[in-house]
């Protein structure tokens, strides 16, 4: 357990102290693992060829084709699983790339400070001023389309966000005794960053990773929808939606199924982010909650308990309030 998590735990009421991941974490990671297993199955032993016709075109779901077929008679279920696999791979890899670049920038900026910090953060601000999808569109044109260029483009797009998220807690930690002790006893700068600072900023890092991955799913879908993402014949949920708009009155499933794939993937990453946030930095109870006035007594007791056990200062400024439960 790191210093930051211990502090966060000490800050909340003792009854809510948790050492287990909550349902959000488990459902999020469960969906992701489920998609991975399905993808592994379809990759190793595909029930149908995803690139060739295997039945009548635009067929409704049947026992043979569980989710029907598309306009070329290809099996929807196989193609949707493959699309989910591509999307999951791109989101994970792009978020990882962004995390690596952004974390290095943020840690260095926060730890070194001074003009290095000023220069890095000015560029981070400027990069953040560009809408992610625009940068991805333009970078995609520069280095081509397809999964790998998408990963590079989206990784670069989200790196500044990571840098900003990582810098704030590092600045708070820089003056702490354990960091000063390490510096004074002659530990080199890069080791202080890697061994003393990094483990204590893993909380925002993991949360940011999962929430960026969820955004990457959405942006990848949008880019593919615009025809600038994953290219044919590789299955992609976003492109399916734009391609099948023509057939939507004949076979609405062709629009609805890829939409559900996008929502499911993005939601799974979001659940993971929420679960991680709740695990690492649980929230204090609010002073009151409206709408249940007749049951005041138990709540009054609860206040008593919180107020005696709590004299800590205001909420942790480094934590991301949006992601809290």
């Amino acid at each position: 357990m790191t210093v930051t998590r211990a502090l966060a735990l000490a800050k909340v009421d003792g009854r809510r102290r948790r050492n287990h991941f909550g349902p959000a974490f488990w459902s999020g990671s469960g969906i992701l693992v489920g998609i991975l297993l399905l993808a592994a199955w379809v990759t190793l032993a595909p029930p149908f060829d995803p690139f060739a016709a295997s039945g009548p075109a635009l067929a409704a779901p049947s026992l043979e084709h569980l989710l029907g077929t598309d306009n070329l008679g290809r099996d929807n279920a196989t193609r949707l699983v493959l699309a989910a696999r591509t999307s999951l791979f791109i989101s994970g890899a792009a978020a990882l790339l962004g995390a690596v670049i952004g974390t290095v920038l943020g840690l260095v900026a926060g730890y070194v400070g001074g003009w290095v910090d000023a220069v890095i953060m000015r560029f981070v601000d400027a990069a953040l001023a560009l809408p992610a999808i625009l940068v991805a569109l333009v970078v995609g044109v520069v280095i081509g389309t397809g999964p790998v260029p998408l990963i590079v483009a989206l990784g670069l797009v989200f790196a500044p966000g990571f840098a900003r998220v990582m810098r704030a807690p590092v600045i708070a930690l820089r003056e702490r005794d354990f960091v000063l002790a390490a510096t004074l006893s002659g530990v080199r700068g890069h080791r202080v960053i890697a061994e003393h600072l990094l483990p204590n900023v893993l909380t925002p890092l993991f949360v940011q990773f999962a929430s960026v991955a969820s955004q990457v799913v959405l942006i990848e879908a949008a880019l593919s929808y615009l025809g600038q993402g994953v290219q044919a014949p590789e299955p992609s949920a976003g492109r399916m939606i734009s391609e099948f708009t023509r057939f939507m009155q004949v076979q609405p499933l062709l629009i609805i199924l890829p939409s559900l794939v996008i929502i499911l993937l993005s939601a799974a990453w979001n659940l993971l982010a929420d679960g991680l946030q709740d695990y690492f930095a649980p929230r204090r109870e609010p002073a009151f909650s409206l709408g249940r006035r007749h049951k005041r007594r138990p709540r009054a007791k609860q206040h008593l308990r919180t107020s005696t056990s709590n004299d800590t200062p205001s909420a942790d400024p480094s934590a991301d309030p949006e992601k809290r439960q």
Partner: protein, 316 residues
């Protein structure tokens, strides 16, 4: 206060400068010759292409090109489009109002729906309204606006058959224009509302957990006064920042939603530019979209001291 404003202005200008350099250099690395559209692919005439290149200034060093371009941009001249026989500023003038209206309407929808929803959820913590708001914003956060739009068009095509797509019949009539834009703006605004609601709920819950709120409650302040006068002011400060940041995503969202509803805005212009690697169009659209975003954030920075007296005290 003056120093605060000056520092904000300088920092915005710097961001704009970096933005212009990024945009300019990004576009230059794009492979493919935009002039190839002018040449006969089977029998290219190098002399004519060189002449055209010289006329457009593409034979100059990049630094010269950058300053020429920047000087033009500062005077509202974005150069001539390469693949379309028109000035880029004319193209933009025709499309910017639509995109701006769309973005402003979406921001309004997002704020007007998002903040009350967040307050409702936070003040009814762990009760039905809270769970409803959280559930809805959770689903909306995972749903891209273009998916919502497509499904909506699908449902409409099977049931009501309202004319939702395109600008047909609405051009020239500002009220009809607004009517056409309501639905796309609402779709983007809903996603923004989900983010704003989650954030408002989070920060308001944090504020309501603080000791000064408990003290005020103990002294007999009514819940509505507590939220309205004491807690919300504190909670909305980070929310303002988030709205500013999310506007960038929102502008990106307009690019996609314009395609879904076949609206001639900046997004479709940018896509045209990208597909034909038309430098001036890409540069101008990306720079303008970025500039609008910087401008909005500058305004957010100016609003800060009005909401948060501490910023006023610290900077003066």
């Amino acid at each position: 206060m003056t120093r605060y404003i000056i520092s904000r202005v300088l920092s915005s200008l710097f961001v704009l400068f970096v933005l212009s350099v990024l945009v300019f250099s990004m576009v230059r690395i794009i492979p493919g010759d935009p002039l190839s559209a002018f040449a006969d692919p089977s029998n290219p005439d190098p002399a004519a292409l060189d002449a055209l290149r010289a006329e457009l200034g593409l034979d100059q060093p990049w630094l010269t090109q950058y300053f020429v371009w920047l000087m033009g941009v500062l005077q509202g001249d974005f150069g001539r489009a390469i693949t379309v026989p028109s000035e880029v500023s004319t193209l933009i003038a025709a499309r910017l109002p639509l995109s701006l209206t769309l973005a402003i309407m979406a921001t309004l929808f997002g704020t007007v729906i998002g903040i009350p929803a967040g307050v409702l959820a936070a003040t009814r913590w762990r009760r039905a309204p809270d769970n409803t708001v959280r559930g809805m914003s959770f689903v909306l956060l995972a749903t891209p606006p273009f998916v919502l739009g497509t499904v909506l068009i699908l449902v409409n095509s099977l049931t009501l058959r309202l004319p939702l797509v395109g600008l047909a019949g609405a051009s020239g009539d500002p009220f009809k224009m607004l009517g056409v834009l309501v639905l796309p703006a609402l779709l983007i605004g809903l996603v923004l509302a989900a983010i704003v609601a989650r954030y408002t709920r989070g920060t308001l819950l944090d504020t309501l957990g603080q000791d000064f709120v408990r003290t005020a409650r103990a002294k007999g302040a009514s819940p509505s006064r507590l939220v309205g006068r004491h807690a919300l002011r504190n909670a909305l400060i980070p929310v303002t920042t988030v709205i500013g940041i999310e506007l960038a995503a929102l502008v990106g969202g307009t690019v996609v939603i314009e395609t879904v509803f076949a609206l001639p805005g900046m997004g479709s212009l940018l896509l045209t530019g990208i597909r034909s690697s038309d430098y001036p169009i890409i540069q101008a659209t990306v720079l303008l979209i970025g500039a609008v975003y910087v401008l909005i954030n500058f305004i957010v920075d100016l609003v800060y001291p009005l909401i948060d007296p501490r910023v006023r005290v610290h900077t003066s």
